[in-house]
Symmetry: C2
Subunit: 572 residues, 2 copies
Amino acid sequence: MILRINTRTRTATTDTSGAYAGLGGRALTSRIVSREVPPDCHALSDENKLVIAPGTLTGTTAATSGRISVGAKSPLTGGIKESNSGGIVSQKLAKLGIQAIVLEDKPEPNAPLTLIRVTKDGVTFEDAPASGNMGNYEYAKILDAKFGGSAVCALIGPAGEMCLKASTIQFTDTEGRPARSAGRGGMGAVMGSKRVKAIVVDDAGAPGVSYADREAFKTAGKRWAEILRSHPITSQGLPGFGTAILINIINEAGALPTKNFRSGRFDKAAQVSGEKMVELIEKRGGKAKEGCHVGCAIQCSQKYVDEKGQYVTSGFEYETLWAMGPNMLIDNLDDIAVLDRLCDEWGVDTIETGNALAMYMEAGVIPWGDSKAAIEMLKKIGARDPLGRILGNGATYVADAFGVDRIPVVKNQALPAYDPRAVKGVGVTYATSPMGGDHTAGYAVCQNVLACGGNVAPHSKEGQAELSKNLQVATAAIDSTGFCLFVAFAVLDTPDALQTICDMLAARYGSPVTPADVVALGTQILQDEQRFNEAAGLGKASDQLPRWFRQALPPHNVTWDFSNDELQAAKV
Amino acid sequence: MILRINTRTRTATTDTSGAYAGLGGRALTSRIVSREVPPDCHALSDENKLVIAPGTLTGTTAATSGRISVGAKSPLTGGIKESNSGGIVSQKLAKLGIQAIVLEDKPEPNAPLTLIRVTKDGVTFEDAPASGNMGNYEYAKILDAKFGGSAVCALIGPAGEMCLKASTIQFTDTEGRPARSAGRGGMGAVMGSKRVKAIVVDDAGAPGVSYADREAFKTAGKRWAEILRSHPITSQGLPGFGTAILINIINEAGALPTKNFRSGRFDKAAQVSGEKMVELIEKRGGKAKEGCHVGCAIQCSQKYVDEKGQYVTSGFEYETLWAMGPNMLIDNLDDIAVLDRLCDEWGVDTIETGNALAMYMEAGVIPWGDSKAAIEMLKKIGARDPLGRILGNGATYVADAFGVDRIPVVKNQALPAYDPRAVKGVGVTYATSPMGGDHTAGYAVCQNVLACGGNVAPHSKEGQAELSKNLQVATAAIDSTGFCLFVAFAVLDTPDALQTICDMLAARYGSPVTPADVVALGTQILQDEQRFNEAAGLGKASDQLPRWFRQALPPHNVTWDFSNDELQAAKV
């Protein structure tokens, strides 16, 4: 059932119409948004809806299936958005039998913030405890104390309360820390516009998920776990060093964007590498390996601690490390950790915010490489200072405040940690994904650099559009299951992996599922999203990188040379 | 000839290729921009060009022909822009035989500001005198002193220097005051991105314009002057009270947007009416009637003076009065005058900035109706304060900083002083003009409210698309001649007026011109502009008003009810 919450009247209704039966995760968020939200509405208006949906396999015993999708019209891109997060809210919603929570309507802008609590007995509403300029960590503790340790929640920080475009929804992890983030596209601003500070989910007494064929699920689930345990990336690379292992790899490939995408190589990359990070963590007594949700077989996260062994942040992704590091010429891991933590505190996307800070450097407001100045600037979001509001609205917004024209965005969303000129497949994904500049939407880094799932030469245009398209379809489908995208490394290289996923879906729901069904689902999701975007004004002209990517990128002196027409081949 | 100035190398070249022969004003700016500027470039990048062009009849003896067109890709709308101004630069350029100045390329962002001087002997470049936080009035005086009273100029203020999206290019009037403004679309930011502070034009010893048939021109010009002298609007209404005469008329029609477009009637309209303004000016010894350029037969401007008789500002347009008055619930003419003056000082568009200030009120940052708070906020642009940068970037930008979703813009440009629900013809123009929300692009207020050029009921959809389209075509043609748009009042109601314009063009250039040629020119201009916008990403989805205009507007409880498809009928 779908839980529809009217945020103006503070009432909840249970939608058991079955209109969206069989859908989960991104398939569900994008279907509801594309059907129910007018594409030309303002993203902060009462007509937008925020959809929070576990995947179709979330809550089951399938390994690494606990991700959550958050969808809405994005205040950042103006198009449709699905933002994906870890944390443990997703599994609890699934166990409560909740297919999705849909936040609808909105109260007056100065209405009190709402705290929503969802249990097996229903939904309750109350005024949220005052947040002042409190960050998410402190606020999560207040909720935790209030609800006696069962406050698993989705919450927004000051940035979301201010409705800023880079704002996230943070999800608490197994230890109650709000360290997991639906980061991209300003989903926190949509929640903030509806004056919802937090959704607390308690699954005590929940029925749990049901299985059409428990035994068949068990068999398939076992094989699934084996598959993840057998692939070198999911069993060694990611658990060993997290995604930060990519710093050295991508730097070596000449694709690590440095100083706002001026070079593909950073001479101090080693100082911010995954290897260095793990070495530090181990020396200081942190935790080098951790899952973002219960039952993850990959465990690519960490607990980063300071010199005194005190927790700073839940290990950073490669993209965070890059955004707060090489792209700003910052080479100090401890400062990067503080920047990451502050992003989680205020609830802003690390990729967008790192790029936005780079715009402040581009404008000369703070010096390149000055991590302390970056930290001070980032603190201004929590202080609700005008410069912080500017920062929290993302890269283009900062650039516009200071006349900067070198802005690495697609559909107004800042680009992640792979220079599209040196990894052309992911460049095609940036340009054509309905999500805007996003690596996860079609991670061609696999075939372009990691020799996973095949080999496609990264500097040539050849084959990239088809590669990106196939990956975008597959990713959309994976994002509907609740599986972490990282399972794709194993799936791409394991012949029976896709069939195993089909077997799990069939055993869970009782209808046969074929690989062709999975492809059809992925295609359908992208079609829903593209149709929405087209009507929202994001057509073919928006499917392109900024023109300055035509300039050559050292060290390989590669350029971006796709025409808009060529790029259309990557769309479904 | 066309004067092409490379702002990076500080060199000028004379383009006598004749590639744009016969074009002037908006026809020329839009043709050059659509041919030479990549639609997907960043508006502040080296690939954008700023084109400043007198009209085809500017510099002649034809009455009211001294307007100037400024064109570029707009930093505000992201589409093509023509912004039209008075002042006396235009006639001097025409007399120097300069068809257009084109500013190309750009220096480094921190390069010194440039002062460009254009005389009959050529072009010189020098570092501009330091401007500090100086406003345009003081800076114009410095230039005036430097050039011995001949410093007729186009200049940018602090907003243009900061490359803000609402920034204008100010043109000096007959008394050397920089009170005339190419206001809309951020043309000042494009000039600022090229680090050009001012263009000083001296026509001493200039050849003046030539005539293919001087006698024929004289005859036609005489008839032209008669036409303007015979129509009640151009001979009595506008000279008597300026455009501010519209406050009472539009309020009476229930179309005066009040409190950010919440009502079509302002209960204190009488206090800010044209009649009241003229009464005050006359009592205080100001000047109630003045032209914006030499040889204007209409004289719709004024000198607004304070209680002590001291000059404050060159009379405000109705749209300025409205933006700084009723739409913010401000009813104090003296404070409105200060707001207008400050806009000219910093170089920001009054319509965009008034709407942007209304967004600060919408957000609760300053109280509704508090003119003193509005003045203090506006001063922050000159102080280069972050809140001033936010303000100077226009209505949407302010709204985005504070989570406001009630933003009256089309293609990101703030709407002017006619509620589109109560004057549907101008609403169609707002929605479909390549310029974004703009009344001048197709002023259906004539037929909807003023009974000029026919009668089309304002509240019905009937006939509005065709009306708007015809007016858009006619306006584009008029904007290419250098005539002030206000001649249209007389042209619409005078059978031989269009032929008289054709006769003047023929006598000036020596080739016959028919009314059909004029229509074809207007159509061609719009086609150039639409093609550019389409490629820049402003397609059909952008041709619409914000959804909240579907809410009923008191007192007539009219709503906006055009579909995007219906609106396409207004495009050429």
